[in-house]
């Protein structure tokens, strides 16, 4: 017998009520039950960070959170970053700095960066950005474009 639960969560401002199995991960709930396929699954054991989403504002690995744990929570995914069709400053910076190639790890890096930048008062130096970006794995870029994009946005936002 399946162990099922009714949960309610908000994703990018939209409220959802769904029935999920207790073992179903938040990543699968978002991707397959609610259609937010922008969140990618790269390792399913919490190392690569491709599935990073914001749970009540904090970056989490959606592969290590069960859907039922997100009951009553506010979730932000990559689909919630832009203003409609208009890319956010962070998204634009990733493109300008060539911070993505195949694009698979990109949603995770964007959500990690979004949370990191929202906590910044000043402008972090390169070493500080690298230390935080070391939470996730990218296989294509060598990271330089990602680090540069995050630094540029931090500078822009600091004015």
């Amino acid at each position: 017998m399946k162990d099922i639960h009714l949960i309610a969560l908000t994703v990018n401002g939209e409220e959802h009520e769904i029935v999920v199995e207790s073992r179903r991960t938040l990543a699968d709930v978002l991707r397959h039950d609610l259609g937010y396929t922008g969140t990618h699954i790269g390792c399913e054991h919490g190392i690569c960070g491709a599935c990073t989403v914001l749970l009540d504002g904090q970056p989490v690995r959606a592969c290590l959170v069960f859907g039922v744990q997100a009951d009553g929570c506010d979730v932000r995914t990559v689909e919630g970053l832009s203003d409609g069709e208009e890319l956010s400053d962070l998204q634009k910076a990733f493109s300008r700095c060539h911070g993505l190639q195949c694009g698979f790890c990109t949603p995770g890096f964007l959500m990690l960066s979004e949370a990191y930048l929202s906590e910044q008062d000043g402008v972090p130096d390169e070493a500080q950005v690298r230390e935080v970006m070391a939470s996730n794995i990218c296989r294509c870029t060598g990271y330089q474009g990602i680090v540069e994009a995050v630094r540029q946005v931090a500078e822009e936002r600091a004015g």
Partner: protein, 770 residues
């Protein structure tokens, strides 16, 4: 004509990826899609006594369980048409014997991925374990055979066997003997393999959406394994999350999914997890070289002999075969150096491990490492400067085209210029002073170089020398302008992160005098594109882009003809630029290209016969190949207390001929260097003596992060190739090829005062501490 080629154009691909709207295979599952999970061998070597699927069929949500026997025992056999090669069969699902841990023996198909995994756990297989061949040494002993009757050596090539070598070695002022090793690694794309197959009743074909670099080769493999015509298979590569070679061979799982969808008449999806990706997918680069080299007193190489042994794992991959690494290594070992006498023996040994396939660089990270270490060893023994000894041996300006002892002709490159510029740049940037500072701080520090060229864009003139039954090389592009003046380009190459949608558009836009935004690339669909060989071997811009340029040029010729007729001028006087067909020397006379396109389609009767009926062309390119080149330098530090090795600064001077898009080239270089540093310092796939994989998570297999990879400074030289339509040279692998040798040389520079020398990768902290 060159408004867009060379420009730093932001990538068309970026927007959908940044918005979370990419479409990868795993995103395509629909409500009626079934999910597959493979039952895999827990043993490296075992006989299958029986497979009992009855309990699995009872698991809630499970619809079907299939074994190899149920599918008619499909297999693939990759063939090299050489006496030195022993063909072996690779069953799509093993039926009587397994040869590596994680080999698939059955597939469970269920309503969701969770139920499929439950079902896979419930399949009961009775195994009888057998002796294991865990490494090359055991394979050489041949007490146990991975494939009966082969002696474990599946390919044994002796090439360029110069009879003068024994005499040269006996009489040379300096003879060096050394052994070099590189560990088994994984390409590790962030998206693992994934396939969704569905039967299409309307078209009478199985449609296979799969994360591949080679759609047409995958179609051929599925058709051959299942004994069906190629027409009845359509392979589509949607967005692909990296490949690096791991997806340039046909996966057994792709064939099984196609067979299952044909049988069940329902969409079936399989998305491998990271453990499968690390254990069941292909690996690469596990090689050892026993080398003898002779030098004269000035450091000039006189002769080179190498015994090259590659651990190819349990099966010969389709279609490249297990000879791909030993052949590449034996053919190209001398590299950029003028070696007068040469001999190489290249062997591939079967072991009870996952098969190996081409991974970014294919043997060239290893052969560059061998040659660059030999140069440094000779320099140290002879008291010659370690950088200068390279200048004494490399092919110099004025010597191109140079045909080497290995019968390879090297087209024009900048081997000396790139080394000179690298040395100048790191000196100006204060690297030597920085090395001294680090040493004063109590760290060991060193600087290392590597000089190399990268043969790219192998067309059939080159690939045919390997004698593969399936010989890749050419590619075909189709360019079609629509009535509004916009263009669809199709190509048989299949980009997966390289930005081809952008770079192909730049090439075509220049030929047609339009904006790259008016050009869309269609790739990765066997029904939409002409037969082509996909994206691997740094081939796409030269071959696919070359074909696209030719086809666009043909369409441009037709546009000029139409414009000449309408403007009543000579064809040769018509110029296509900035969306207009103008007349040379007559600034006021022009027609919009979109107007030409409109007339050709909607009022074609107004045009002379040769201008009518559409604006399209199909052209192929099949070059002999072209060498890009680079020089890498790296500053490393070694902590004597912890053994930690850090790459601190990295410099690349590269020459890939005409640069289509500097943004993309720099990205390829940086990503490649990161993978090269990874191979030199962090990554290795490991097994115990029973052949059990012991690097099965990303906590064991250490992919470097932004914390380990340092900034990489890049400078460009541009030596156009005469063998390339665009003047471009391939450059997708150079970073990975050159970096390991540079890092290893830097480590040895750092440790020289301790009398320690390493000739293997990766060099780990425990190596330093012991």
């Amino acid at each position: 004509m060159t408004a867009w080629v060379g420009a730093r154009v932001p990538r068309k691909e970026d927007r959908r990826m940044l918005l979370g709207r990419g479409r990868f295979v795993a995103d395509m599952a629909r409500a009626n899609t079934l999910h597959a999970s493979f039952v895999r061998s827990p043993y490296a070597s075992a006989t299958i006594r029986s497979i009992d699927v009855s309990a699995a069929r009872q698991v809630e949500g499970v619809l079907e369980v299939l074994t190899g026997k149920d599918l008619g025992d499909p297999f693939l056999q990759a063939v090299l048409e050489r006496d030195e090669f022993t063909p072996t069969k690779m069953p799509m699902l093993a039926t009587d014997r397994v040869r590596f841990a994680s080999e698939p023996v059955a597939v469970v198909i269920a309503e969701d991925a969770y139920a499929a995994e439950d079902g896979a756990e419930a399949v009961e297989v009775e195994w009888e374990t057998g002796p294991v061949v865990p490494d090359i040494a055991a394979a050489l002993e041949a007490a146990t055979e991975v494939h009966s009757g082969t002696g474990n050596c599946l390919v044994d090539l002796v090439m360029f066997d110069d009879p003068a070598l024994p005499g040269i070695f006996a009489n040379a002022p300096l003879t060096i003997e050394a052994t070099f090793r590189s560990a088994r690694v994984s390409a590790l794309p962030m998206e693992g393999r994934a396939t969704l197959a569905e039967w299409d009743d309307r078209d009478g074909q199985v449609v296979v959406h799969t994360s591949t670099q080679v759609p047409h080769q995958t179609r051929s493999g599925i058709a051959q394994a299942l004994g069906i015509p190629e027409r009845s298979v359509r392979v589509i590569a949607p967005d692909v999350g990296g490949g690096f070679g791991q997806k340039c061979v046909v996966s057994r799982e792709e064939v099984v999914l196609a067979a299952a969808a044909m049988r069940l008449r329902r969409p079936v999806i399989w998305v491998e997890d990271r453990q499968e990706n690390l254990t069941a997918s292909v690996h690469g680069h596990e090689q050892e070289y026993e080398v003898t080299a002779a030098f004269d007193a000035d450091g000039r190489i006189l002769g080179l002999s190498a015994d090259i042994r590659c651990d190819i794992g349990a099966y010969s991959v389709y279609p490249f075969t297990c000879a791909v690494e030993p052949l590449m290594a034996a053919t190209e070992l001398p590299g950029i150096y003028k070696v007068p006498a040469y001999r190489a023996r290249g062997r591939g040994f079967a072991t009870n491990k996952a098969p190996t396939a081409p991974y970014r660089g294919v043997s060239r990270p290893q052969i560059v490492l061998v040659m660059e270490r030999l140069m440094e060893k000779a320099a140290a023994r002879l008291g010659v400067d370690a950088v200068d000894i390279r200048r004494r041996n490399m092919i110099l300006p004025g010597e191109f085209p140079y045909t080497g002892v290995n019968n390879i002709t090297y087209d024009e490159g900048s081997y000396l210029e790139s080394l000179d510029l690298t040395e100048k740049k790191i000196t100006e940037a204060g690297w030597y002073a920085e090395r001294d500072r680090l040493r004063e701080q109590g760290l060991f520090a060193g600087i290392g170089f590597s000089c190399f060229s990268e043969r790219t864009a192998y067309g059939t003139p080159t690939m045919s020398q390997r004698r593969m039954r399936m010989t890749p090389g050419y590619d075909t592009a189709h360019v079609r302008m629509d009535p509004s003046g916009e263009v669809i380009v199709t190509t048989g190459t299949s980009g997966h992160g390289q930005g081809h949608e952008t770079t192909f558009a730049q090439i075509v836009a220049d030929q047609l005098g339009i904006h790259p935004d008016q050009v869309r690339l269609r790739q990765g669909d066997t029904d939409l594109t002409s037969y082509g060989w996909g994206t691997f071997g740094s081939r796409s811009i030269v071959i696919g882009g070359g074909a696209a340029r030719k086809a666009a040029g043909t369409v441009a010729g037709r546009l000029r003809k139409v414009a000449a007729h309408l403007l009543e001028v000579g064809e040769d006087d018509v110029e296509l630029t900035q969306g207009e067909a103008g007349v040379r020397g007559v600034p006021d006379v022009s027609l919009p290209i979109s107007e030409l396109a409109r007339i050709v389609h909607f009022q074609t009767h107004q045009l002379p016969e040769e201008c009518r009926y559409g604006l399209e062309a199909r052209e192929s390119a099949d070059p002999p190949g072209t060498f890009s080149n680079a020089c890498h330098a790296v500053l490393v530090s070694v902590d004597p207390g912890t053994g930690e090795i850090r790459a601190r600064k990295f410099m690349v001077v590269e020459d890939c001929g005409v640069i289509i898009n500097p943004l993309v080239v720099d990205g390829q270089v940086r990503g490649g260097v990161a993978q090269g540093i990874a191979a030199a310092l962090y990554e290795r796939i490991t097994f115990d003596q029973e052949g059990q994989p012991t690097s099965t998570t990303l906590m064991d297999y250490l992919v470097p992060t932004a914390g380990e990879i340092c900034p990489i400074e890049i400078h460009h030289l541009e030596t156009p190739s005469q063998f390339s339509e665009n003047g471009s040279k391939g450059m997708g692998e150079g970073g990975t090829i050159g970096a390991p040798a540079a890092v290893l040389n830097a480590i040895n520079d750092a440790l020289a005062h301790r009398g320690i020398e390493f000739d293997h990768i990766p060099v780990l902290p425990e190596d330093v501490l012991s």
